[in-house]
């Protein structure tokens, strides 16, 4: 399973989210490849799941991708809750 975490620049926010997603996976006892990138690159990449802040992630939503939109990117509890149905 490959999870791609996305933000506008692909540098800061998505990186922190990636660390939080990895933390959530450890707490859930699951394994997945987690990487982070920018919006432009995300459109060209294959992944089983795309995660990002709710204000931009929907621009990737073209009906072909599984998407998780986060309210608070620092909330590991929220990430765990939204991630669980997909694992």
């Amino acid at each position: 399973m490959r999870i791609l975490v996305v933000c506008g620049n692909g540098l800061g926010s998505s990186f922190i989210m990636e660390l939080n997603v990895k933390k959530a996976l450890v707490e859930l006892g699951k394994e997945a490849v987690v990487e982070h990138t920018d919006l432009a690159t995300a459109r060209t990449e294959k992944a089983d799941l795309f995660i990002g802040a709710k204000d931009i992630i929907h621009s990737l939503n073209d009906g072909t991708r599984k998407i998780i939109a986060l309210e608070n990117v620092m909330n590991v509890g929220e990430i765990k809750e939204k991630l669980t149905p997909y694992l």
Binding site: G8, L11, F15, L39, A40, S59
Partner: protein
């Protein structure tokens, strides 16, 4: 042998950062495969940044010639990625050493003072390390003095700027979980303060209907391509078809040529961003891992878009107002005898939007509008004032974008003149 270690290993920035990544990976007790991959990728990230710099310079050089012909003035486009990438040729070693030791100073300050912040925005750590290295070098510092003083200054920046903003961040997020670690702090602080005194936080921006169409500009590649295309075409029209086609493009139609040069600049930024992403991918987790063990109760200081979801409308309003201030400044600056700072969509988007969120939290709609406008003025005037302090780097037609780089640069430049 000693010479080889000092000159070729520590003197080659790419190898130096690779070495830091290696140490970080060893400290995290990673497996052999991870250690090899991480070290190699870090070195590659550094090389990619250099390659991107060459692409950016070629396009900026042409922009500069056109701009000069068109207006008989020098036009400068602030872009952190561009200036840092260009600076790596001359200041790569200083940047790498100050960056890593600055992180150590950050951890020590968080451990032993009341400023319990760990600054996790790795690319901004790198940019600030570069700025400090450039200003101190230009001011005459060298060797160990430069690295030690630079690292202490960087470590201070990494805790003091987040501390400055924290009271406002609490109002935005209604929690004390994280801080904002992004070197546009002065603009955000100005926005929050202006909102507090001139606005009313009851009239939140989030009660208005704002069209969602502008969110495509969140995509940096799109934003850079679009701005540069508009700028290049306008400047090419002023420079004149005959000049462009005879002097620069070798006969290619001047509009087509401008379009390609604009996209070339954007491609250069894209390459540099990719390099920075790979470079910091190994260093930040190591930093965070070590910090978590030494300062367990610290707050992470994070990149500015982490506050965007708290007020999406303020993001759009903030960007528009900041950019407007940038456009107005473009005409005011030359009248004051300063360089023309061409407003870039990227710095105005990210810092303007953040200023909008801060202004809205303390002063609602009026706070977002006035606060982001103030931010736009700051990121137009500060880069113009900073330019003369960058020495020969100042001739590259680009400079640092965000407000804190300008303030730190100006204060350090002033102090350096006293000695």
């Amino acid at each position: 042998m000693f010479n080889m270690i000092m000159k070729d290993i520590l003197g080659t920035p790419a190898i130096l950062v690779g070495l830091f990544a290696l140490i970080g990976l060893l400290l995290q007790k990673k497996g052999v495969a991870d250690i090899i991959a991480g070290t190699l990728k870090t070195i590659m990230g550094f090389v990619i940044i250099g390659a991107g710099a060459n692409v950016i310079i070629s396009s900026l050089d042409i922009f500069g010639k056109m701009f000069n012909k068109a207006f008989h003035l020098s036009g400068v486009i602030p872009n952190n990625e561009a200036i840092v990438a260009v600076a790596q040729n001359a200041f790569g070693m200083e940047t790498a050493l100050i960056m890593v030791l600055g992180m150590v100073v950050n951890i020590l300050l968080a451990r032993f003072t009341r400023f319990k912040y760990i600054f996790l925005t790795g690319h901004h750590t790198m940019f600030m390390a570069c700025l400090i290295g450039v200003i101190l070098s230009t001011g005459g510092l060298k060797g160990a003095d430069l690295v030690i003083i630079g690292s202490v200054l960087l470590g201070l920046c990494m805790v003091l700027f987040p501390a400055l903003l924290q009271s406002y961040v609490k109002q935005i997020t209604n929690s004390d979980d994280f801080a904002v670690g992004h070197f546009g702090s002065l603009g955000y602080f100005a926005a929050g303060t202006i909102g507090k005194y001139f606005g009313n936080k009851e009239n939140s921006t989030e009660n208005i209907k704002v069209p969602k169409q502008l969110s495509f500009l969140r995509d940096t590649s799109v934003a850079v391509s679009l701005t540069m295309t508009i700028l290049f075409v306008i400047v090419a029209l002023f420079a004149g078809q005959s000049f462009v086609e005879s002097e620069l493009s070798g006969g290619t139609n001047f509009i087509v040529y401008s379009l390609i040069q604009a996209i070339t600049f954007a491609a250069g930024v894209y390459i540099v961003l990719a390099g920075v992403r790979i470079l910091i991918a190994e260093i930040v987790p190591a930093f965070k891992g070590i910090a978590d063990q030494i300062v367990p109760n610290a707050k992470p200081a994070l990149d500015c878009p982490t506050v965007f979801p708290f007020a999406p409308n303020a993001v759009i309003i903030g960007f528009i107002m900041s950019f407007l201030a940038g456009l107005i400044s473009m005409f005011v600056l030359p009248a004051l005898g300063l360089a023309v700072i061409v407003p870039g969509l990227v710095p105005h988007f990210f810092t303007g939007a953040t200023a909008g969120v801060f202004g809205n939290a303390t002063g609602g709609r009026r706070g977002a509008i006035l606060g982001a406008f103030a931010n736009g003025l700051l990121i137009s005037f500060l880069p113009a004032l900073l330019l003369p302090l960058l020495g020969t780097l100042g001739f590259e037609k680009t400079t640092f974008g965000d407000s804190d780089f300008g303030v730190v640069g100006l204060i350090l430049g002033f102090i350096m003149r006293l000695f």
